[in-house]
């Protein structure tokens, strides 16, 4: 899932100060699962913003809505009325959701209420960890399902650097060395020979370095007669 975290309330208050009617818009997708931008968080943040504005004796109306997913036009259409009533939208979605709303409603200012952090997993209750950097060409099969692009701080694909100590990364003693994890995993699977083949040069143009990406699937397009 995409993992995100709420921005500071006072910062949001400053950003929104110029708008009188604000729609706080939640998303029922990833940010609901990571407890950052679902219906509950919309309620909490809306209350907090109302309190913050009223403490300054400033008259703002904070409206609330949550849709299934902010990254799909089909669901965005459902909130046309609420968006039209608002002077601004505070989107509690990932960066994709915020931009979807802004593209669909170009006449209304849209602001992000969250900082989008990474694609990751719930490691334990209250702890989320990054697992994928969306590099565009998955190499997990070669590395025992441990991603060298995300788990190695230097994203090295051809072996470890010299900075690891006792299985920990030199970036932080809290951080496991990604290459230690890869080695241990492949050894346990009896697949260490996978590392004998030199990894080919990585085509980073498939990642964000190649510019804003787009995936087109002709088989999924709706063709008009």
């Amino acid at each position: 899932m995409i993992v995100a975290h709420r921005k500071n309330i006072q910062d949001l208050k400053s950003i929104l100060a110029a708008h009188k009617r604000i729609l706080v818009l939640g998303c029922g997708g990833c940010v609901t699962v990571c407890l950052a931008g679902g219906e509950r968080e919309v309620g909490m943040l809306s209350s907090a913003l109302r309190i913050a504005f009223r403490l300054d004796a400033s008259e703002h109306e904070v409206l609330e809505a949550t849709i299934e997913r902010q990254c799909e036009n089909q669901f965005i259409e459902d909130i046309l009325d609420q968006v039209q009533q608002a002077d601004a939208v505070l989107s509690l979605a990932c960066g994709a959701g915020v931009q979807s709303i802004a593209e669909r409603y170009p006449e209304v200012p849209v602001y992000p209420g969250l900082d989008t952090k990474f694609i990751g997993i719930l490691q334990e209750q209250g702890v989320w960890a990054e697992k994928c950097a969306t590099c565009g060409k998955c190499v997990l099969g070669t590395y025992g399902a441990v991603c060298p692009v995300t788990r190695c701080s230097k994203s090295l694909l051809s072996g470890p650097c010299g900075g690891a100590r006792d299985g920990k990364c030199e970036v932080s003693p809290e951080l496991d060395c990604g290459w230690q994890l890869i080695y241990d995993r492949l050894k346990a699977l009896g697949q260490l020979d996978r590392l004998l083949d030199p990894s080919p040069l990585t085509d980073w143009s498939l990642s964000h370095e190649g510019g804003c990406r787009k995936l087109v699937r002709e088989d999924q397009k709706i063709k008009s007669l």
Partner: protein, 151 residues
């Protein structure tokens, strides 16, 4: 404000604090009449939104009262409430309202005296803090028990 009497909401677990409040009454213990007791089946039922909305509507202080840690009838309801209370305190502080207006206490159903002490502690604390600045002249505690109407 000389005639200021705080309005304090006590969200009490059925299995401990609510019974303790009952016991305090049976024991004829005196405690400030500023508290309004609301029973929850367990503090695990507490939603952070209850607390936020109550402050929005002008409550001066909130007591969350649950079982002793390890003694929850539903195993971990009070521990969940502890986290939620801590989260709301943090959000209130970020929004600019004193987090001291909200606190969670743990007690058993046999502690009538503890309940009375908690109410006294919170009443004195909230009196010193002054009224909730969000309290509107038109929104008193009795009125705010009616369903909220939102546009």
């Amino acid at each position: 404000m000389t005639d200021y009497e705080p309005r304090i909401l006590a969200l009490c677990c059925h299995y401990c604090a609510y019974t303790a409040a009952d016991l305090a009454g049976s024991m004829r213990l005196q405690y400030p009449p500023n508290v309004r007791v609301l029973r929850l089946p367990c503090t695990g039922k507490l939603d952070a939104a209850y607390l936020m909305r109550a402050f929005e509507r002008g409550v001066d202080g909130i007591i969350v009262a649950g079982c002793l840690e390890g003694g929850c009838h539903f195993q971990e309801g009070n521990l969940r409430a502890k986290n939620r209370t801590a989260l709301v305190r943090q959000v209130l502080a970020e929004a600019g309202l004193e987090p001291e207006r909200l606190e969670m206490f743990n007690l058993s159903s046999a502690e009538g005296q503890t309940f009375a002490n908690i109410v006294r502690t919170m009443t004195e604390r909230v009196k010193a803090l002054g009224p909730n600045p969000l309290r509107l002249s038109t929104c008193n505690f009795e009125l705010s028990t009616e369903p909220e109407v939102r546009s």
